[in-house]
């Protein structure tokens, strides 16, 4: 730690046996996305993939599934690759509290090596390919998009670095989805109110911490770069993009610069989404790219998404769980851990020590009114503090023996949810539910829970002993 760029992380993955280099020839479609789909189908400990023999490209390279497993996620945090998810969660939460760590400005970024101002053709530079069968075309969906608040352009924290889906519509024309709730959506709104285009810089191929942080639900004035410094434990390196002056990751493979065109909306999508369903076509903003900076033989880092689990579920797992945990813990210190990694927290599991009967149900409903919960937290499962919410075998045990269908369901009618949830009707509205699988306590005295089977004495000692022997 820290990783200065994607290449450094790939080297560590290779040393740790978590990178698979595929040198046989492959077609852009369907081989690349099929391979990225296949890894999480097989295992949650799978490798990143690096392809360097892509039909039609001389030196094209594509990296996929870079953080697409728990070992790779642990290595992203600089931890042992066998670190259990729950320990990764608590370490992530601890580092989050170190925010902010000031960024390190540099003027020697490797992507300054080559510049293209004329005749830009992104298809020549990068092996762009279709991800899912009925996507409208090729996409860039793991790049860091940087923009500033046109009303306050010098505010570093209001500068946003986020990941948005980007359709490659032409050689130097992109479509983007900046939702009104996104920070870039606020920037675009201000720019359009002013009658101006919105300058953007798009950094492709980054170190894994930046990718992770760019998917975090930070507040409007929080800087992703200062959070990346907190998560990696050292100041994060940034450099000024030459055309727009926007701050971009120092280690990026490629930096695209241009503008979102004010007032322009054009058909975009469908695109296979993280819900396992396509989002329909809509008219969305358009970006014109006018300058490209890149390293020699850049690596195109891309992300497959579709029916969970895919790489996206790993990259967003703790991003979603940690803020929810911290927000709940502020009001209810009895909350032990939050696992909100199912379809970005549409379903979440919370372990909590109950104060009194009915308490866990209240915590479950509170989760629905957190900033993230307003769009997610459709199904909440509450478990005791002794149940590890990241251990689904334990969660299912709690559901099977603690949950009582007559007493333990709370339904909240007509609540808000993200419109991409295909069950919402109308889109954006759904009932929500709390399943309380905690042990009833007074004044709820039902059930027969006085004779729990606890672990034999010294079980923990044997766990540690055997862990060493198995390794």
């Amino acid at each position: 730690m820290p990783y200065r760029d994607l290449r450094e992380f790939l080297s560590v993955l290779e040393e740790e046996g978590q990178l698979l280099k595929h040198t046989d020839p492959v077609h852009p479609e369907p081989d690349l996305s099929a391979a990225a789909r296949a890894v999480p189908n097989l295992t949650d400990r799978g490798p990143a993939l690096l392809f360097d023999n892509i039909h039609g490209y001389r030196r094209g390279r594509v990296a996929l599934n870079v953080v697409g497993s728990w070992p790779n996620h642990a290595l992203m945090l600089g931890m042992d690759k066998d670190t259990p998810v729950k320990e990764q969660f608590f370490e992530f939460a601890r580092r989050w509290d170190d925010y902010p760590v000031p960024a390190e400005r540099r003027d020697d970024a490797p992507w300054q090596e080559h510049t293209i101002d004329e005749g830009i053709d992104l298809f020549q530079l990068l092996p762009l390919f279709r991800l899912n069968r009925y996507d409208v075309g090729t996409y860039i969906d793991k790049a860091v998009v940087v923009s500033r608040d046109p009303d306050d352009p010098d505010h570093f924290g209001k500068q946003n670095a986020g990941i948005y889906r980007i359709q490659v519509k032409d050689k130097a024309t992109l479509g983007i989805q900046p939702l009104p709730t996104h920070d870039i959506g606020l920037h675009l709104r201000a720019a359009e109110e002013r009658g101006e285009n919105l300058p953007v810089a798009i950094a492709i191929g980054n170190d894994p911490v930046m990718t992770t942080v760019s998917g975090m639900p930070l507040t409007y004035e929080q800087s992703e770069y200062e959070m990346a410094g907190a998560i990696q434990g050292e100041p994060y390196r940034i450099a000024k993009a030459p055309l727009t002056g926007l701050d971009v990751p120092w280690g990026a493979e490629v930096v695209l610069e241009g503008e979102i065109l004010a007032g322009v909306r054009e058909i975009e999508g469908p695109f296979g989404e993280f819900t396992g369903h396509y989002s329909g076509g809509r008219r969305q903003p358009v970006i014109r790219i006018t300058k490209v900076s890149h390293r020699t033989d850049p690596i195109f880092e891309h992300l497959y998404l579709g029916m969970p689990w895919t790489e996206m579920d790993y990259t967003l797992a703790l991003n979603t769980s940690v803020p929810l945990y911290q927000q709940l813990k502020k009001d209810f210190p009895e909350v032990v851990a939050v696992n909100a990694m199912y379809t970005q927290g549409l379903l979440a599991v919370v372990s909590v020590k109950q104060r009194y009967g009915g308490f866990a149900k209240a915590v479950g409903m509170r989760a629905m009114t957190t900033p993230h919960g307003l769009g997610y937290c459709k199904v909440m499962i509450m478990v005791d503090e002794t149940v590890d919410p990241f251990n689904l075998a334990q969660v299912m045990w709690a559901m099977s023996v603690k949950f009582h269908p007559q007493h333990d369901i709370v339904t909240v009618p007509n609540a808000s949810v993200l419109p991409l949830d295909p069950s919402s009707d109308p889109a954006g509205i759904t009932h929500k539910v709390v399943f309380d699988a905690t042990t009833p306590i007074a004044p709820e005295t039902r059930g027969h829970y006085s004779q729990t089977v606890d672990a034999p004495a010294d079980t923990k000692k044997w766990e540690d002993l055997l862990k060493g022997l198995i390794k």
Partner: protein, 90 residues
């Protein structure tokens, strides 16, 4: 995976009909492969659909393209605008 590339260049055969929106005469060459002759990419100017000549027929054949994913060119102007365009400040 691992099979040698076999599909041929179709650059000379500009498709006439967009598989997605069934428009005719709206297809252009988007780009061609850096290694000449390997593939051509096409794009429809009406619905922005794009595809590569080496892809399977399920992306390029208007006759078998699924109805659920077809787009009526007349409906494009009626699609939801996301995000909406705000009024200019006075």
């Amino acid at each position: 995976m691992g099979r040698p590339p076999q599909r041929t260049d179709q650059m000379s055969d500009l498709p006439t009909t967009c598989a997605r929106c069934d428009s005719t005469g709206t297809i252009r060459v988007l780009t061609t492969s850096p290694v000449p002759g390997a593939w051509t990419m096409y794009a429809c100017s009406t619905c922005t659909y794009s595809w590569r000549s080496t892809e399977a027929a399920y992306v390029s054949d208007p006759a078998t393209y699924p109805a659920a994913f077809k787009v009526d060119p007349a409906a494009i102007a009626e699609m939801p605008v996301v995000p909406t365009v705000p009024p200019r400040r006075a």
